[in-house]
Symmetry: D2
């Protein structure tokens, strides 16, 4: 075929498969959102509608990609997390990242008019996002990543809340506010807010202080089905059986063999069940253990039931 | 700062800078467009509006990224090409690919209603695209890449045109048409079209047969400015001075030093000029030399003037 | 300086840092050792001197690179293991692999005459080795890697022992022996050895059946010093304090922060202590837990004392 | 088979194939040679025997790997160059680099006693080398790389020659000599050598001033055979036919298709012929065109005959 003479160019494509058995985090960021937020007059320091639109687009991404087990968003960025046993697109970096970036963008643009009905999109101010994948070798580091983003949310939000209060309510110039905040610590900012403006930072909205976490809510019934699917056992099995056994040696991480030994059809069933699970939008602490202990299926990668 | 305890997670981000002095091709592909084209009832074998929408979105990408020097589209795919001396985003693979994928998606969604006013988008059938970057070490291989895509366009379009004519005009079942076409060569398909349906394939639209090539049209005046910028010479210089000198030794490719010695401000000026150049939508042969010889600025990476 | 005109070529060097907090295994293999073993008349199925030479060279590599915590050798291959907290050469893949390959080769060539005094090396039959690095995200998978190599050792040695006994003692042709062994399982081979030749495979030398494992033997005194160095605590601390605490949540892997917070001087002291520890040559089971439980410092990366 | 349970660990091995159609340079460097040269009392500023040993080891590498087309050495480093059409080890980075590093090390250790009969090697002062591969997309950049190394040789040698003459003949302390040389240019150093010590730097040995270049000398007869092999033509063809045709368009680099269309047996024959060609040790300018123009087969990758 005439085609064959040129087909050698395919040999320049280089593999980009991510290391097996590692957490995959795809973080996307708004491109030029500083300028964009000015153009569409986003409220300062937080625009609730803009955040709700980010979250709505992220929920759609979660729905389209059942392999995603959790996501965390703050400002114009969102981190989507695939479990270490994820095999989607053979774990190809480019495929995973571009699929998420494009799907997110599509829904963001599509839903814009719903959240900003009075400010229609107008090129060249069309929102877009870039993204990257990073892999993390174990649960502790994945959680440190999530904590890093939430601490960042807190620090930025406290700063921005103080800054914009000083400017908008206090009538200060941007420069003066910036100057005064230079070198201050959290306590200083809390004090400025409270003493000068009577604002208790703790009473700010959780969505601003904590950002947004998305995960699948798994109902008891769903869990039982999933469990019987994944183990082949009967329905009467209890969740406790799924809990990681107590460590006996330094080498007792869960073997990845189990996963790869799941038949393809079993994996398909689990994916189907995941797809049906409701995606929850929450604004809670994900740094402490409590969040993760109450939702063990997120880190385990196995659907499980909520504690009674 | 409290943040620092978690910031070590940044160290897991791995560099993905593309080899210097190589062509970068970012090819994007529609995700699940087979299903999508059924849902929105795209015409067979080609839907003119769907192609025009692809092209319109690609033009916007070209406009937003003046570093792009050429693009080629066929069906639901588009290839965007950066010159070997491109330094955009420090040539980071992920950044380049996701920016293009997201920008393209944004415009595609945004412009949909303009091209398909009577068929509004409806989730979950929201178009999205994945993408990848491939690098090519020299002009010959870059051109072979472009030829590969255009040959692919030709082969697929001849097949699809014949197949759908047999089905839609000839009343054959899909299976029967597929069966008859198995093992046929181009001549056979041309004959089927002509003898049975009176269709001369050569008379089909160029956009279907050749796909779409996008590039910047450079006017003479623009060229003169660019030239004086890039060389520091006065306005009277002629294009001929820019032509590659005849080869004297096997080692005469243009030195990359020149580029890196351009000052940052010079590069900015060239980018600005590029941004102003009109993006042309064309449907022509890009396999033969003629296309490239007439537009030397595409492969040279230097703006140039059109032959009189 | 004249040099600068060409120095841009350095920009083509691409980073190859291995993902942090993962085990690094560098496996080296003899190049063309089949031919080489014929040329120097290695004994079949195992040449004790050749294995001792491999082990001697590997011990020297362990001595030169105190960051190595364990190594495993079989036939003409050796796997060297760096702990997840290893920072040697900033974890650059190429640097780690070539250093090990070259150091091993140097000692192998240097010591050859000691092990094969009557068969001097003669080019072009000069032994050389290639190598590669692979990273593993957790202890379980690192141990599965080690098990993989030792199972391989067992399978190959049982086959080779049976094959060469059939040929050398049984007078069979290579082809006939190969033919008879096709499709046999372990029990069959054990029976052939025992019934025909009166050989109990269990009585074969451990070095042949188990391969060779190298690790640092840590004396009690050494451990106490190391502990006080790594924790800043006084000498009376017991090893038990160092043991991983029982798991409380799915996220309890040891935090990498601890390591990175070790001061540079502390790390230097530990490296110095490691350097002094004796490298042990052993031929034991490394698949079961016992080996690892008795030597907790191997997986923990912290020097520890032997159980009494 | 029992083995299968652990074999999944192979999936962690990541591909490292180098981009096709690019020059591959493997540069190796002595590890800790500063200390080593003190220990074995290498002469300052250059030890002829040490350089000869480097070159002898490099010649053996060239002989063992006929795919290498040129190599350049200076001090304790050597750069080995594979042609863009090289397919050795499927162009796997690790395999290429470790094979060269190990082969070089083996010969270096093996030949040591021949060059330093009175200074036997004694661990732990055993020479070893690390290495890395870098790819370059075209001839110009490959030549710039070679020039970079030779300019480096010149600059270092002029400095070292001046420094050691000031110390060894002039009786200066190392510190004083270093101090005086700070900020000097080439002319200054030449003058110091000439005025104070009557040394004309131009009369220094070429091996010190230019370093060492290794390449295969191709005889006329060999060329004719190779040509008929590679083209299928008869013996009467002239070299001129092999020369790159004058450029017609910016896209006229030699197509890589030609190479991949060479049959496997043709490639084997060329490799065999290369293996027979004598490896020449030379100390000449490789920055100017002359060296390359006289030996066109180096950059072309096709054996050719010397101009009459």
């Amino acid at each position: 075929m005439a085609n064959s003479r040129f087909e050698y160019v395919k040999s320049f494509e280089q593999p980009d498969v991510l290391l097996p058995n590692t957490w995959i985090v795809v973080r996307i960021d708004g491109r030029g959102f500083h300028k964009l937020s000015d153009h569409y007059a986003f409220a300062k320091p937080n625009d609730r509608r803009a955040l709700d639109l980010m979250n709505a687009a992220a929920v759609e991404v979660m729905k389209e990609l059942p392999d995603l087990c959790i996501a965390y968003g703050v400002s114009d960025e969102f981190s989507f997390v695939f479990h270490p046993n994820c095999q989607l697109f053979e774990r190809r970096n480019g495929k995973l990242v571009t699929t998420i970036v494009s799907t997110f963008t599509a829904h963001y643009i599509y839903k814009w008019s719903e959240y900003f009905p009075e400010r229609p999109l107008l090129p060249p101010y069309l929102p877009s996002f870039d993204g990257r994948a990073v892999i993390y070798p174990n649960n502790r580091i994945l959680r440190d990543y999530m904590s890093w983003r939430q601490v960042d949310c807190h620090i930025n939000n406290l700063y921005n809340t103080t800054f914009w209060t000083m400017v908008l309510q206090g009538g200060m110039s941007n420069t003066d506010a910036e100057q005064e905040l230079k070198g201050t610590v959290s306590a200083d900012k809390n004090e400025i807010l409270f003493k000068r403006f009577g604002i208790n930072y703790n009473n700010e909205l959780e969505i601003y202080k904590k950002g947004t976490v998305l995960y699948r809510q798994v109902c008891a019934n769903f869990y039982d089905i999933a469990l019987s699917v994944s183990t082949g056992a009967n329905m009467s099995q209890q969740y406790e059986l799924e809990e990681p056994k107590p460590a006996k040696s330094p080498a007792d991480e869960e073997s990845p063999v189990a996963e790869s030994q799941q038949s393809r059809s079993q994996q398909d069933k689990i994916r189907k069940l995941r797809r049906k699970a409701q995606v929850v939008i929450d604004h809670v602490d994900i740094i402490k253990d409590e969040f993760w202990e109450k939702r063990p299926w997120i880190l385990s990668g196995n659907p499980g039931k909520l504690p009674a």
